[in-house]
């Protein structure tokens, strides 16, 4: 497994972390290419189904990032999301997903360095765990 690289799905809030990713890009920052980023309108838009679907379809890790508390574009979306995430993370780890596979962060659109460092941390945490052993379903025609 020397040359194994993890595939990580990142769900980023349009108003902050997605902007930070953009800024990191134009600033020519280096970060691992293992994350596949999906833009969502707000961390509050995250449905537990998204994370479960990512894991089911073979993601080695999932990362969700939104605005710092108090900075939500929709005022309070991330506060609600925080409660959902806490319960979700506890439950999925309770059922046997390793704690290093699911990550959450708050990154504002100005924090491109934090963005790069979180991608680094997430990637190395998932890499350390190795490929997933269970719970992956093959793609079907419906996908």
């Amino acid at each position: 497994m020397e040359d194994w690289e993890p595939r990580i799905v990142g769900f980023l809030c349009n108003w902050c972390t997605y902007g930070a990713a953009d800024l990191a890009g134009v600033s020519r920052m280096q970060y691992p290419p293992n994350v596949r980023l999906i833009r969502i309108p707000c961390a509050g838009r995250m449905s537990p189904k998204f994370i479960l679907a990512a894991f089911m379809k073979g993601a080695d890790g999932v990362w969700v990032s939104g605005c710092h508390p108090g900075d939500c574009h929709y005022l309070e979306g991330n506060y609600y999301a925080r409660r959902k995430f806490a319960l979700f993370k506890n439950l999925i780890e309770y059922m046997g997903i390793e704690p290093g596979r699911l990550h959450f962060s708050w990154i504002s659109s100005a924090e491109s360095t934090k963005f790069a460092s979180v991608v680094n941390k997430v990637t190395s945490a998932v890499k350390a765990l190795g490929p997933r052993k269970h719970g992956i379903k093959a793609f079907t025609v419906n996908d």
Binding site: P48, K49, L52, A53, M56, P69, G70, E76, Y79, Y80, R82, R83, K84, F85, A86, L87, F88, K89, N90, L91, I92, E93, Y94, M95, G96, I97, E98, P99, H103, F104, S105, W106, V118, K121, H134, G135, I136, K137, N142
Partner: protein, 315 residues
């Protein structure tokens, strides 16, 4: 228990006679032992059908969803908490309900009793302390406390949370109960062992959705298991699909579940499905100090927030 039944009949008859309600939802004797069934009483003649004993484990709040008429409903502790949840979630109005509270002494676990005997059980009766089981060539007296449903053993809300009438005097609540021993045991396992534990737990699941249908919280017009575009969860009994179904079923009950045990009671394969909802119940209590269905004035935990909610898991 006959005094409970008599009082329930008396109250129901009065409510119907005074036209305070259009029907009373209660229990009648089932066609097989230990399986009382829900019963909608609309006329005085039907009142004699109503019973109350240790086989009334079904959660009657399930039958209130979206009702328009005035209803009298028999509610034990957990039913009443689900009625509160229903009112909070606008599934029924408080003004429509006349709640006949029943301080509950616990329901018996039919699966446990059936597994104790080789032959078919034909008749089950009870008195204050004991359950008397009769079948072809045997008769045995069991201590009721030994055969209670698991959730009833650890129940700390036996008295109804809201009621308009009472069918008996309020009981002393059980004290010093460790509600989450089994959850903590799983939490302490290594991830690999947890995975294996749930793999084994769910392997008998036939995806009949009885746990969902018995649950008063599950009233979505289209359940996520029936959605097809996108299809979030496959319909087969593939272990990954089954696990996803149980995960989401439990997650949808987060901060709403009252641990009434209807899901576990309904499971034809005897799967301990409460182990999922109990984890969420424990987290809601520890993180947000929340117990479902105790007050009409508080918003459920996922419908509110505090600026200082715990977030040590967020980078």
């Amino acid at each position: 228990m006959s005094d409970y039944t008599a009082k329930i009949k008396e109250i129901s008859a009065r409510l119907l006679k005074e036209e305070k309600v259009e029907m009373v939802i209660g229990f009648r004797k089932g066609t097989v032992p230990m399986m009382n069934e829900p019963c909608f009483v609309k006329t005085p003649e039907d009142i004699k059908k109503l019973v109350w004993d240790s086989n009334c484990g079904i959660n009657l709040a399930n039958y209130l969803t979206g009702r328009k008429e005035k209803i009298g409903i028999i509610a034990k502790g957990c039913d009443s908490r689900n009625i509160v949840t229903h009112i909070i979630e606008n599934k029924i109005k408080r003004e429509q309900l006349l709640i006949i509270g029943v301080p509950c002494k616990g329901m018996i676990d039919k699966n446990k009793i059936i597994s104790m005997f080789e032959n078919e059980i034909n008749e089950v009766s009870e008195n204050e302390e004991n359950i008397i089981v009769k079948g072809e060539g045997f008769e045995k007296t069991l201590n009721k406390n030994d055969v209670l449903q698991e959730n009833c053993k650890i129940c700390i809300h036996r008295n109804p949370a809201i009621y308009d009438e009472l069918a008996a005097d309020l009981l002393d609540e059980q004290k010093d109960i460790d509600r989450y021993e089994d959850v903590r045991k799983i939490e302490a396992m290594a991830p690999e062992d947890k995975w294996k534990y749930f793999e084994d737990l769910l392997s008998p699941c036939i995806r009949c959705y009885a746990c969902r249908n018995a649950c008063p919280l599950c009233y979505c017009p289209t359940c996520f298991v029936d959605e097809s575009k996108p299809q979030w969860v496959g319909k087969s009994i593939d272990p990954t699909d089954t696990r996803t179904f149980h995960f989401l079923r439990a997650y949808h009950c987060a901060g709403r579940c009252t641990d009434c045990g209807a899901c576990e009671r309904a499971c034809p394969m005897g799967i301990k499905v409460r182990i999922f909802t109990k984890k969420l119940e424990k987290d809601c209590l520890e993180l947000y100090g929340w117990e479902a269905g105790l007050s009409l004035d508080e918003r459920p935990p996922l419908d509110t927030y505090r600026p200082d909610d715990p977030e040590d898991f967020i980078k």
